[in-house]
Amino acid sequence: MVLHAPETGHSTLLPSAEPVQLIDEHGAVTPHADYDLPSEAELLAAYRALVLGRRFDRQATTMVKQGRLAVYPSSNGQEASQVGAVLATRNDDWLFPTYRDCVALVTRGVDPVGVLTLLRGDWHSGYDPYEQHVAPQCTPLATQSLHGVGLAHAARLKGEDTVALVFIGDGATSEGDFHEALNFAAVFKAPVVFFVQNNGFAISVPLDKQSVAPSLAHKAIGYGIPGKRVDGNDVAAVISVVSAAVERARAGEGPTLIEAHTYRIDAHTNADDATRYRDAHDVEAWRGKDPVSRIDAYLRGTGALTEELAAGYAAEAEAVAEDLRRRLGADPVTDPRELFHHVYADRERLADQARLLDEELALEEGAGQ
């Protein structure tokens, strides 16, 4: 399609016809004119994060079946998108994740049990957002994208060079907040990167019923910001494309919208049945584009990934899984009095009702004796 682009240079905002890819599904390098392959050290670090992330994801999937989590939206198949995007940021850059970005949070260094706390059914996010610079995982769609814009704008006002990375799914690009966030970010020239993981489905609804735009990245041009497309199963490409956008934001040149093309191999959550709405052949085809095996093949090909290193990472991943089994396997100790603790910064606001609950609990304890 041709968009008329007069002297304003808006043609440079248009996404590429094909998603950027640097390593293909067989592990072969596919050179790109605009993006360099990350260094071998970066790719080894990415490989390690992918192995850990995948093991974490498998363990969480197992534990939801055992009733240890209330629900788990798997990242299976999307690990390269999440790992690559996080590795493109500095640790003082902020992440604004959704419920499906658990692997991103583990990669940033959030305690895996903290990552799963909301999904365990608890009332709080499980980690202090200020420690790892990660906002609480957001369940309503796209609402966090505006928070990312505000925080990025705050950083500019404070003279800091931190960037906000907002995670969104393909379905969430239909939400009003997504569009308001793109527009606010563009007008404020806020240092924020919007990272859309297009995994093909919003629960059961496929992308073609969500949008008829040429690509989700094309939505950027309406707001006057660049749109980029990247192979979301190629961790090397994700690192390169997101890094360029993050550094552009850091340099004060404004926001970027990135669409990562990936696929949700598992159902929406454990409570979903994906066989009702999609073809098993499609899933098999995407398994062939697996994000871990291609970087595995590439790094073994260059000799960077030795058997010894791979075994070390696998052992590390097993330790993460074992730790999760141990700490999530125990029944959580909950105190219903916590209901009242953080509703208001002003604790006195609900003191009367807190006393009512105390009395009720005292009666129950009395009856139990």
Binding site: S125, D128, F184
Partner: protein
Amino acid sequence: MAAPTMNRPDSDMPDFEPKVQTITLAKGINMGLRAAMEADKKVLVMGEDVGKLGGVFRITDGLQKDFGEERVLDTPLAESGIIGTAVGLAMRGFRPVCEIQFDGFIFPGFDQIVSQVAKLHNRSKGSIKLPIVIRVPYGGGIGAVEHHSESPEAYFAHTAGLKVVSCSNPVDAYWMIQQAIWSDDPVLFFEPKRRYYEKAQFDPAVSPDPLWSSRQLTSGKDVTVVGYGPTVRIALDGAAAAAEEGKELEVFDLRTLSPLDLGPVYESVRKTGRLVTISEAPSNCSISSEVAARVQRECFYSLQAPVLQVNGFDTPYPMSKAEEEYLPDLDKLLHAVDRSLGY
């Protein structure tokens, strides 16, 4: 002296010291915003038309000129965007004051307010504080078109994590907006737009009442009357009119709608045995209903008559030609007082 009883952060900026003068309610809010911005560089004003224009009601008049475009921010026209962006700013230590242009336009921002602003403190186990003030010109009586005269305060009072206040006079306007800004909890600040240009004498040396308190305005033995925001003026007029007939009304201005401060109202009703509430909002599930429920619970053996409510109807706010029939007024209030005394 400025703000003697307020919990104000340390500041390297000089205190804003207004003089003894006659001010309107609109000017009171403007001066209060100015004082807060002088006191703390983290206070930002943001919204539609709040910059050069000074807002459609001129509440932010002159602020952008004096504090710059970074602190008085004309935003794109999107309420969810304004509130959601304020969340991110507050997460990094700012104290944003968001202007919603009219009551009926707050609803595009409703999700951000009730699902995010109200809950993030709790969801982060107290780590994130959101000292956001959302200013809302509200209520009718100005002959406006649809969506410009509504009273949506009950939606927000119903939501855990939010605080809701409404000023009724110029002096409270000056102090309450500052107290709301220094609150570490998010505050919905409802401004009675038809009272914007009512005047009062302002003396900065007189200390303000705490924000989370109601206030007794008249003393009387016969009927307790509770109003807030735009209806406080009607309640005071009612007390004067009733006095001519030898009836004494004890009038209260609620000021804070969530939390409610009803202790003094209970004391009053235990004395008078009668309560009439007055509010522009529809009565169903309203602030008035909550006041009535609590008073019957706390003052059951003192009540000589059922609690009566003078409210708007449970209809959409009418076109301006019919608003006089809709709005509570002096006649409706005095009629309710007579009914209460007739039991």
